[in-house]
């Protein structure tokens, strides 16, 4: 029977090996454990045989087991080295493009995830047309409450207008709504904000109606109702085949004639659906809102977002009205991006040289294909960078949905400008530090010379292409005889320096140095 001291020692040694095995990469762990466990048996057999417990023997076995940690660490380190990007990829143009592509994917994914950005992007292409005004009674203190009577609207429409070439009227009522297909037993009527509106409303607003019904004639005289995008998503789970369904709106019925994008959200009144009716029905109720489209003359008179309009009544009395512009107060995200991009390009020469530093090339080296390759790489970097700037600035500006539209626009403008400016600076600096032959980034900077000897000798930084093609000389203090960086092409005799990296110089046309 094994004495308890020996049993404890065995457990201790096995525990040490188990602990060490955790450091070994999973793929090698089983075999590693097998080998060490087997060796432990033999070590115990030699140093601490069963029944002859000695502290010295156990200490030798412990020392053997402790060596397993070094072995495990070696395997772990070696595994990391083999997983590290290969030396051919490090600093290469491919790595740079892959990095930018990954950044673009991350920024785009974030833009898809953030609800504020999603909403803003979906809204971007859908805005109401220009030259629209909301006409309100000047006496009304609240823009969001209806103040125009149907008879006023009828009078304006019938009269020839100088400043307006189209009018539409709508009034909002809360009405119970039920789907016809839903059985009465499970029927749950909910109240929607229904806008009884002129039939020409969406044509006047310039908003496209989505998923329009194909054959409106089959429904007879049932009026059409246009759902708001929000209600469509909420009640119909964004079903694109919603057109043609019949709804019970209050006492009457209406067929769904399409969905209107949320671009209509600038209009006053909380509207869930727009019931398009002839004027006789629309104007049968109380006060409502009037949207008017300005003529060229009318636009020239819109000197502010709100202008005072004088109405001449048939009895020659004057009424005071307000014309409130419905044009968006903030430019679209594309307009902001383009503006900030132009600003950044204009500001770029102020923070870095726009030269690519391609100088003193021998004609043989400056092969056309290589030049083309360099330009393609530069274009690819810029092409990847612009969408990164676009999406990252949107992420920053619209991540916080509590911000007002103007604040978000400001954040977008500033972030686009800043990111764009410094990204373009990085693009140029990166391009200047890439070997013209292989586009690998030069590395191993070495300072050469002393600043105090600038007038007698050269001083600056020397960088090396690890492919062994070139040396880059960057002057520490630009002088009239050495103002910009210079490339020095290395000949094949320098190959021995780079042989270990597996990237010896190809036999190419030679200019310049031989090693001394």
């Amino acid at each position: 029977m094994t004495p308890p001291s020996e049993r404890i020692a065995r457990v201790w040694h096995i525990g040490l090996l188990r602990a060490a095995s955790l450091l070994v990469p999973r793929s090698q762990r089983a075999e590693w454990w097998h080998e060490w466990h087997s060796e432990l048996w033999h070590v115990r057999h030699d140093c601490a045989p069963i029944g002859s417990f000695s502290l010295r023997g156990e200490a030798e076995v412990t020392a053997f087991c402790l060596g397993a940690f070094q072995d495990a660490l070696y395997l772990k380190r070696h595994s990391f080295e083999s997983r590290a990007p290969s030396s051919t990829l490090r600093g290469s143009a491919t790595q740079c493009v892959l990095f930018l592509a990954a950044m673009l994917a991350a920024c785009y994914a974030l833009a898809l995830l953030l609800p504020g950005v999603r909403a803003e992007r979906s809204l971007a292409p859908i805005r109401m047309g220009p030259g629209l005004v909301l006409i309100q009674d000047a006496a009304s203190s609240d823009d969001s409450s209806p103040s125009i009577l149907p008879k006023q609207f009828r009078a304006w429409k019938e009269r020839k207008q100088q400043y307006f070439d189209g009018f539409a009227f709508y009034r909002v009522t809360q009405e119970p709504v039920r789907r016809e297909s839903v059985s009465n037993a499970s029927d749950e009527k909910s109240k929607w904000g229904i806008a009884h509106s002129s039939e020409n409303l969406f044509a006047l607003l310039g908003l496209p109606v989505q998923f329009p019904e194909q054959d409106a004639g089959t429904y007879g005289d049932i009026p059409g109702v246009i759902l708001s995008e929000r209600k469509w998503k909420q009640e119909f789970q964004a079903n694109p085949r919603v057109a043609g369904m019949v709804l019970h709106l209050g006492p009457g019925r209406a067929r769904i004639a399409g969905v209107v994008p949320d671009g209509s959200r600038g209009l006053p009144g909380k509207v869930d659906a727009w019931l398009l009716e002839p004027d006789e029905k629309t104007l049968a109720g109380g006060a409502g809102f009037v949207i008017a489209h300005l003529t060229a003359m009318g636009r020239s008179e819109m000197y502010a977002a709100k202008v005072r309009i004088t109405e001449l009544n048939p009895d020659n009395s004057e009424g005071n009205l307000l014309g409130i512009s419905l044009d968006p107060l903030t430019p679209g995200i594309w307009a902001l991006f383009s503006f900030a991009l132009v600003l950044a390009i204009l500001a770029l020469p102020a923070i870095t040289s726009v030269s690519l530093g391609e100088c003193s090339e021998s004609s043989e080296r400056a092969l056309r294909s290589r030049t083309l390759y360099r330009w393609v790489f530069l274009s690819a970097k810029i092409a990847l960078l612009l969408p990164i700037v676009y999406f990252s600035s949107l992420d920053l500006a619209y991540a916080n949905t509590a911000l007002s539209a103007s604040s978000s626009a400001y954040v977008q403008l500033v972030s686009t400008f800043s990111i764009c400016l410094f990204s373009l600076r990085w693009v140029l600096q990166d391009q200047r530090q890439r070997c013209p032959v292989c586009l690998r980034r030069v590395c191993n900077p070495a300072h050469v010379g002393q600043a105090s000897r600038t007038f007698l000798a050269w001083n600056g930084t020397e960088l090396m292409c690890m492919g062994g093609h070139t040396l880059l000389h960057v002057p520490g203090l630009p002088t009239s005889w050495f103002s910009t960086q210079r490339w020095l092409y290395l000949d094949t005799s320098w190959g021995f320096l780079f042989a270990a990296s597996g990237s010896a110089i190809k036999s190419e046309t030679i200019s310049g140095l031989t090693p001394t």
Partner: protein, 110 residues
């Protein structure tokens, strides 16, 4: 693709040369090499991993039936490759005492 074996004598450390010599002398598993070279396990096993990675030695598990017959766990045996033998020859020129430290005739029968 197999890596090209390294024949570069200058890169072989004294420890590695000692392990190659021990293997050549017939000490073909980790613990016996430790005992013969007088090196700790934390030095010998990582060195053998490097030599195996560089294809100077290769390993093979003992057959289970042999181990079962002797009532012990199977061992992992190591063997010189032709590249390893060539490297060892070069190392012997560099370290003339290598053969005297571990003479081939001391090898234990396996």
């Amino acid at each position: 693709m197999a890596r090209e074996p390294r024949f570069v004598e200058a890169k072989l450390s004294h420890t590695a040369a000692l392990i190659l010599q021990a293997l050549d002398a017939g000490f073909i598993y980790g613990f016996s090499i430790m005992e013969m070279a007088g090196l700790p396990s934390g030095t010998v096993y990582p060195a053998m991993r490097r030599l195996e990675r560089d294809e100077l030695i290769r390993s093979q598990w003992e057959r289970q039936s042999i181990a079962d017959a002797e009532q012990r766990p199977p061992r992992k045996y190591y063997k010189l490759t032709p590249a390893g033998r060539a490297t060892l020859e070069a190392s012997r020129k560099r370290y003339p005492l290598l053969e005297r430290l571990i003479p081939s005739e001391e090898a234990k029968p396996v």
